[in-house]
């Protein structure tokens, strides 16, 4: 187990290196002088441009800059936002919890809804229940989240006045964004759960369980579902990364605080340190979540643990 763990952890190192190299290159690849572009809304003197250039260490050779970038990032220093003049790390720390909350809530919606729909569809193959749940999944996966979000706002917030449309904070503010975010992932999970369940339900041990006279819900819940979930967990983990990215859109639609708002403001305002910082944090989160998923396999499936 420990060897497996160590292998997985070591394998993330080159990935993280690649990620930081890519993020770092953003600034180098921008056409024109990034400093002038960053300051284009300000009235500046050549001295100020020179000062910012040296503050950002853009006057040093690229490898030195990259080394500094990595070393600072490791120490938690991602520079200072051009736009807000606050440390990028502080901005991210202020906004990360909101994004994490939303992503987890979206994941919860996706998990509960997706697995339930998938199980219902598999357990009722060739019935209208299967048709209904798969139709719902199809709608979920085809609907762009910004559109779904606006529909939910118009329906549940504006017409029915059930839930607030905007803002962070309490649970009521989380419901609509979480549904918007989770529905797409739920659809994918539903289809996957269904097919995985169908496969497992054909296995002999399920027939045995049924032959022993076990109640159908026990057969499905205890025997089939646990085994059907392994591929689902993989996708679940990958979906978490997707959901993190999805929060960017959802946060904008619902005017919630979060990393998505940081990065969109950053992009619109050419705030390179901010964009680099957020991309790095999101990429690292993605890598870590994948690592976590790998480790969860080991828990779910002993064969992987000892391989």
């Amino acid at each position: 187990m420990n060897a497996y763990l160590a292998r997985r952890v070591v394998a993330t190192v080159p990935v993280l290196f690649g990620v930081s190299l890519l993020v770092f290159s953003m600034l180098a690849l921008v056409p024109g002088d990034p400093v002038q572009l960053m300051l284009s809304e300000f009235q500046t003197t050549p001295e100020q441009i020179a000062r910012l250039r040296s503050q950002l260490h853009l006057d040093e050779p690229l490898p030195v800059q990259f080394g500094r970038f990595v070393w600072n990032a490791v120490r938690g220093d991602l520079g200072t936002s051009i736009r807000t003049r606050r440390p990028v790390t502080t901005e991210i720390a202020d906004n990360f919890p909101a994004t994490l909350q939303l992503a987890l809530a979206g994941l919860l919606v996706a998990g509960i809804l997706g697995v339930s729909l998938g199980v219902i569809a598999a357990a009722n193959q060739h019935s209208w229940l299967e048709l209904g749940s798969m139709l719902l999944a199809l709608i979920g996966v085809s609907m762009p989240s910004f559109w779904l979000g606006l529909l939910l706002i118009f329906g549940l917030s504006l017409r029915l006045r059930l839930l607030p449309a905007t803002g962070g904070g309490d649970l009521a503010h989380l419901v609509l964004p979480a549904i918007t975010l989770g529905l797409g992932a739920a659809a994918i999970l539903a289809r996957l759960t269904r097919s995985s369940m169908l496969e497992v339900l054909r296995q002999e041990y399920v027939t045995t369980a049924r032959a022993k006279g076990l109640a159908e819900w026990l057969v499905i819940g205890r025997h089939a579902l646990k085994n059907a979930l392994i591929p689902v967990v993989t996708i679940f983990g990958l979906q978490f990364g997707q959901l993190l990215a999805g929060t960017f859109v959802v946060e904008t639609v619902f005017a919630r605080p979060g990393l998505g708002r940081l990065i969109i403001d950053g992009i619109l305002n050419k705030d390179f340190p901010m964009v680099q910082g957020v991309v790095l944090v999101v990429a690292v989160s993605y890598v870590l979540v994948n690592l976590l998923v790998d480790l969860m396999y080991a828990v779910l499936d002993p064969r992987i643990r000892y391989a």
Partner: protein, 553 residues
Amino acid sequence: MGRVRGIVRGLPPALVALNLFFTACQSQPPASAPPAATTAAAAAQPAPAPNTTSGQGGSVTIGLDQEPPTLDPEASPSAITFYITSSVGETLLYVDENRQIQPWLAQSYEVSDDARSFTFKLRNDVTFQDGTPFNAAAVKWNLDRVVDPNFKAGSALAQLTGYAGTDVVDEFTARVRFKDPFVPFLIYAGSPYMPMLSPTATQKQADQVNQAPVMSGPYKVDEWVAKDHVTVSRWDGYKRRAPWSDHDGPGYLEKVVWKFIPEAGTRAATVESGETQLATVLTPQDLPRLQSAGLQVVSKPWVGMPFMMFLTTTRPPTDDLNVRQAVEYGIDRDALVSALYQGIGQKAIGPLTAVMLDDASLHSLYPHDTVKAGQLLDQAGWTPGSDGIRNKNGQRLEFSLNAIDYGGGPDQSNELIQGQLRQIGMDVKIKAQARPPWYEDNYHCANNGMELFLRSGELDVLYAAFGSANVGGNFNWSCIKDPEMDSMLDQGRRETDANKRKQVYLQLEQKLMDQATVVPLVDQLSVFALRPNVSGLKFTGNSYPLVTELTVK
């Protein structure tokens, strides 16, 4: 990233561009402004019957499209900051809704004959929200701070072009000096980009000034929850009457919450549902629905330069005056307004918006006339080809239009212009690109045209757009270097007589239009929707909202 593309499309790209651009200048000196060269008649106005804010209360939430980068008005290049701080800070003078200069922190002012120095007699009863007194030393500290190279100033810096220093003449008299004549400073002193910050509090605060600046106005900043809202609350220490106000003391409402709601559809929905009581930056699609739902829609034209298309004068084929004039005739501004700006803009008349400078001579310039446009192109040697596009010496008449693409395609007006100019045989190639290369191209005069607008309350905004010194920088993107225009721009900075000054800029506008350096398209409006029970929204002379008179029934 298909989903992201969708949402970014929701943000009108032009709008983003403009708010961040150059909010640098201020309101136009009105024809009836006090003669600048003499001691100002800006003495205290007779106060209307005492009317105080006691007994009022409540709060409203206002939906904004963006979060400000900072609330330090001296640091911010973003218009959004001034939406909020206009009711929090006080400036030396105040340019009112009719663009008249009123006294505020200065009871009167005097301009030297050479228009290089401005002496302000300050009120002696003003304290900042931290209890420290406002005086001439505070004025000096603030202005010095803006030009300090270690402080990255925002829009405020352009207001102090050529600043030579401030003399503290006595405790309540400050003299601001410039290296060159700089009449625009009078309007800038009355614009919201340089309200007075408490030197004591600001020095103590360090970076915290970006979150909660300490000033002297009717409201104070309570809290800023990042990416969510800024709350300002009534400052009960405010005993004066703000220049626009009908009462002594701070605002009527206890609190005003500025909530950041980037998506336009969501913003409109919140004011319709009552989650917010006011909302701004609304789309033509949402306005009719809001009105039919019983909401009030209040609009105020923006000051500065309209939404326009610069024509590059140094690059073929637009280096030819005939071609540029043909473009002017070829564009149907009425069609543009009715297609894209219903309720949020009106047809522009010149390089300055109509509220800045209006003259009958500008209204008749370049009516939509494709025949005339064709004649001009004929004269220039461009003859119609078989595919409808004109040719000259085997060369097609192509026009490269530089456009920003935030991910959802360029602003629709680009395509509209493309379609209109095709009618006169011109093939417009839209060069859609991200903002950094868009700027870069403009600095290098690399295309034939690009759209933008500039917010400013001062006629001198034309200096940024057409001064020779600003080719290769912000914003002389017509790339025109004309000594005569430069001398007119210079004259505008020297002329202290408001009427004569207006004439200078009118002549300059006419010359700019004769030379077809720019196609004025739309005078945009600052639009707010208010719930039926809300009243009292006012605007500064720069079209920023003021919240002190707001009440909720």
